[in-house]
């Protein structure tokens, strides 16, 4: 049994680094960023209100440039959107690299995609591929 220790982000919010997304567990997408960076991506999403109810989304940003943060479970696709889940509804979140080609639930909410498009984080051509479930490279 792996001991998972929640990281305290603020007084109300905790974040768990889930080992399944770092140890090549079958059918699990894998982070390529360090655990510290993963927490940083989550914190940025928290601060920018990109967490909606129990569903959250994030980007690994260098300025306005989006960077790769993981790969698909079959290692065929680089991934650049983080998905965060508060499955217990107790503000205890965990996350993984979203694979919009494989899972419908890994396609971010349209409102957020529009925000990312307007803010210049994702070009319209990239957003179009995401909503259509098509392979998309940065």
């Amino acid at each position: 049994m792996v001991n998972i220790i929640p990281h305290e982000i603020d007084k109300n919010t905790k974040y768990i680094i889930h080992p399944d997304h770092r140890n090549n567990t079958r059918d699990k997408s894998q982070w390529t960023i360090s655990p510290d960076v993963e927490i940083g991506v989550f914190t940025y999403s928290l601060n920018n209100s990109w967490l909606i109810k129990q569903d959250g989304w994030g980007l690994y940003l260098n300025g306005n440039t989006v960077l790769i943060l993981g790969h698909s479970s079959d290692n065929q696709r680089s991934l650049f959107i983080a998905r965060f889940i508060d499955s217990t509804n107790k503000q205890e979140w965990h996350g993984y690299p979203a694979d919009h080609v494989r899972r419908n639930s890994d396609i971010p909410a349209v409102e957020l995609l529009q925000t990312w498009m307007t803010n210049g984080y994702l070009r319209p051509a990239k957003v179009s591929k995401i909503v259509r479930g098509k392979p998309c490279n940065l």
Partner: protein, 394 residues
Amino acid sequence: MQPLKIIIPGSFWDSYLYTGNLYLFLRDGSIQTIDWQALIKELIDDPYYNLVMEWAFLDSNYLYGELLKSIFEDNEVKDLLIEKFRRASTKEFVVENGFLSAHGNKLQENKFPFPHADATFHYNNIFIGSRSGVHYASCSGSTKYGISTRIHKTTDIPTHALAASYKNLAIAAGEDGLFQIPVNINDYNRKKTIKEFRLSNNIIDDCQWTFYSIYGSSHLNNGVMASFVKDYDEHQKGIYERKFSRLIFDEEIFEHSGYSWGTQDKLYQSAPGRVRVVKYTPWQKDSESNFTNLGEIELASWKGGVISGDTALFGTVIECEEAIVVVLSNDKIFTFPGEPVNWRVFPRSKNYENQLHIVYEDRIEILSFNHDYFVDQYNKKAGTSFINWRKRRF
């Protein structure tokens, strides 16, 4: 022969031509409905281009008519027409900002989920597909705006792509599979339960109609044709029912697996550096002869992997990572470098079947291809065939 081109500068998401209206989905969250004929007339600054602009952008089906077929056998007439198309193709028809704002009375707020995955029109209704399902509204022209502001939802099926025909919507639903649902607005309005027919459990990201069957495309699983047959009523001539027959996977059709797509009589499958072509003729009684291998089309590797494909009479359009590639029915290849926001063809249209719309970040390019009238429809490798059973104007 180069395509004719209309450029509309602006920040668009998608475009669609349907029954005389150009519907523009703007990235600011609005929809503009443009009188397409008025726009074309506005663009013609020299009477020399009257005829070709009409045929190229308003009435493409006209040139497939039997009457003109015999006229085209006269080389002098044919050469004159080709020269007119050639000269028009050297011009760029750019829509000035003033035109859209002058015709902006049909600018409306986009109340559909936005940005959407796909859009289609059927029986004077627009259907919009997104992760949250399929929404629809009337566009019969009886409302103040181009599209009725009364938006309804038909299904919760998460939608990556839509295609309408035979009073049914084909829905590519990603990991939820491939679906068919009936287009019956009266039933929707009466809140009757809509019969959703899951055709395949494969992960399907695109779909098109192959006559009365549906082809589902997949980047992760096998592409699949949901094959239907026409079950004719013994007592009433011409009356039939579409009945599901079986699933036919891409390996059976192409003898290989790989991303594949199909429209009407042409099925395509991408392979490294090339595209395989199979002709589909569902009316052959022997099911093995429904599929005829037509060979391959070479594709330069710099264009990147195949993202999606669709087919019209003028050729097959392949969205690659770095370009849109159009393989014409006369075997010529046009490459439009760059990553588009969206693109579409209108294979089931009667008047716009020769058009390709490509939305870029700062403009829409509306391209009209006009070579196919002179191509042998039976033996062509790229593009669907214009064949006699289609309803003709003459």
